[in-house]
């Protein structure tokens, strides 16, 4: 094919750069943290509740930041609402087959859930005096319902970005159907890491913290398997990573962000709590590099 491995190599790069990379990172954190918090609320123990609060405290600011980043990235930021409302008829704008369209709505709805749960968590932790807001927080039935639905939206927000990239004609992005899966697994791992990091910074010692770390130790190998599956599914297009991006992927993402944290976790066993902060920080850095490589490596080809 005249030196190119796929028909996708004739498309033009959309110049999605740092703002979109940051959005993918913070959007993943928002969705993933909310999901983990709801999981702890629905399946964990009452003494782990401060940990679930932490998840909601992360999710809301991250979703607000996500909205800002996306708006700033637009060529015409003042027209951000055109994603949701048809600008000439003022009717709702919704195209279920366009991931950006459905993602805009998901982000808005998730943002509302994240806001409610944020206030609910603050009220539950008695950081704000509005006791009525405790009703929207588990273990109340309403609170469990909100956590469950918000958690599903959270997962959607953290994964649709990968589907969005696949539904284009750019090399790498549209040459594999696995980026959504990769982003979801990565979001879970990153969010668990940030929650661990912030909990350790606050010198919290709730029992759920170890569970979260154990969960991350299960999710990281899964992420590695998915990343390898992505590479295999790319086939001949994989050679688009035979450059500095491939090196970053190999050393920054797989080495620094996956294998080293796993080695630290397994070596320390259950005793080495001092390693938790380092491990979590490595996971965060590795997963940021992952999004950086995915976004930027498809721009230059």
């Amino acid at each position: 094919m005249n030196g190119v491995p796929s028909s996708t190599f004739f498309s033009a790069p959309p110049d999605w750069g740092w703002l979109i990379t940051l959005y993918f990172f913070f959007g993943g954190l928002a969705g993933g943290s909310y999901f983990l918090a709801s999981l702890i609320d629905l399946f964990g123990r009452p003494e782990d509740r401060p940990l679930s609060h932490l998840g909601y405290y992360i999710a809301f600011p991250c979703v607000v930041l996500s909205g800002l980043l996306l708006t700033l990235d637009l060529g015409r930021p003042e027209r951000f609402w055109h994603m949701l409302i048809e600008s000439n008829t003022f009717r709702p704008m919704f195209k279920p087959w366009s991931p950006i369209s459905i993602g805009s709505w998901a982000l808005l709805i998730f943002g509302i859930f994240a806001f409610i749960s944020f206030l609910g968590a603050l009220a539950d932790a008695k950081r704000i005096p509005w006791a009525a807001w405790r009703k929207v927080h588990p273990p109340s039935l309403l609170g469990r319902f909100i956590a469950a639905i918000g958690g599903i939206f959270g997962f959607y927000v953290s994964g649709y970005t990968g589907v969005l990239l696949a539904v284009t004609n750019r090399p790498i992005w549209s040459d594999t159907p696995l980026l959504g899966l990769l982003f979801i697994v990565s979001a879970a791992s990153t969010s668990a890491a940030l929650m661990i990091l912030l909990a350790k910074k606050s010198s919290w010692t709730m029992p759920g913290l170890l569970d979260l770390q154990r969960m991350d130790a299960c999710v990281i190998p899964l992420e590695l398997i998915v990343l390898i599956a992505v590479m295999v599914s790319l086939g001949p297009v994989l050679r688009a990573w035979l450059n500095v991006w491939g090196l970053l992927l190999l050393f920054g993402v797989i080495g620094l962000g996956m294998l080293l944290p796993l080695a630290l976790y397994w070596r320390s066993g259950k005793r080495g709590e001092h390693n938790m902060t380092t491990t979590a920080a490595l996971v965060l850095v590795g997963n940021f590099i992952l999004r950086l490589v995915i976004v930027f490596s498809a721009q230059g080809v």
Partner: protein, 265 residues
């Protein structure tokens, strides 16, 4: 609805005069300063470089010569938006800015577009780019404003060799097929039509007569719709959500179980 209209571009009679580029820029009031780029590209006679937000026509110069340049040929092709019947840009556009007109052409409404640039990544031909002045995605409109008052597009009107022909799709197909036949009879067996067939994105309303492989002209041999990945991608993502969910539940539940065992007398 009016009859589907479009372009048929016979690359064998293009002389590379760039009248189409000039006419397009004049009619559509696009800057002639090449976006402030004053350097020569060094790539044959092509200093337009590519289609983008301010270049809606681009004459490509492909030099096919032997090392000693004693033998060879020029391939010249005036590239433009293909106005696909199944348009990738229109499919993904989240604001509804990209629409299909009554002439079956594809137009970006610049007062609706907010510059998210999804269409740029979606177009398999690399036609669309952001116009730095308007901040929104722009491309050939097939002179929608001229079509509405019964005029033909500026580029085909200006083309001195009838390389770019405008008309109803049906009429253009007839003309193009006759031309391919004529070329075959004359000994140019390599001539074929690119995009006239419905198999390519439902048919391109701007199709080409080429005499080499599509990729030689910088055209994808097998352009596809972006939504081909939608279902598989979504299902894999859902699988990811289930897997991570199960790992989470297992870990939080598991701790409960093991702790209960530890506290058992």
């Amino acid at each position: 609805m009016a009859e589907p209209m479009g372009f048929y571009t016979d690359t064998t009679v293009c002389i590379g005069c760039k009248s189409c580029e000039v006419a397009c820029k004049e009619w559509n009031q696009l800057p002639s300063t090449n976006g402030g780029v004053n350097t020569l590209s060094g790539d044959s006679y092509d200093n337009t470089r590519r289609l983008d937000g301010t270049h809606w026509r681009h004459v490509k110069f492909i030099e096919q010569f032997t090392e000693d340049r004693k033998d060879g040929r020029w391939l010249l092709m005036s590239d433009v938006c293909k106005h696909c019947v199944h348009a990738a840009c229109l499919e993904v556009c989240p604001t509804g800015a990209i629409t299909r007109t009554e002439f079956d052409t594809v137009v970006i409404q610049s007062d609706t577009c907010n510059g998210c640039r999804d269409c740029i990544a979606a177009c398999p031909f690399g036609v669309i780019e952001t116009n730095p002045v308007s901040g929104v995605a722009q491309k050939c409109t097939l002179c929608y404003d001229r079509l509405q008052v019964g005029m033909e597009p500026a580029c085909s009107k200006a083309c001195p060799t009838q390389s770019i022909q405008f008309g109803t799709i049906k009429d253009l197909h007839d003309r193009a097929e006759k031309r391919v036949e004529q070329l075959h009879q004359g000994g140019e067996k390599r001539a074929y039509l690119y995009g006239a067939d419905e198999k390519m994105l439902g048919g391109l309303n701007s199709f080409y007569l080429l005499v080499d492989k599509p990729e030689v002209y910088g055209l994808p041999p097998d352009p596809k719709m972006p939504t081909r990945n939608l279902a598989s991608s979504s299902w894999f993502s859902a699988l990811g959500a289930v897997l991570v969910g199960l790992i989470g539940i297992f870990n939080f539940r598991n701790r409960g179980a093991s702790e209960r065992e530890e506290t058992r007398p």
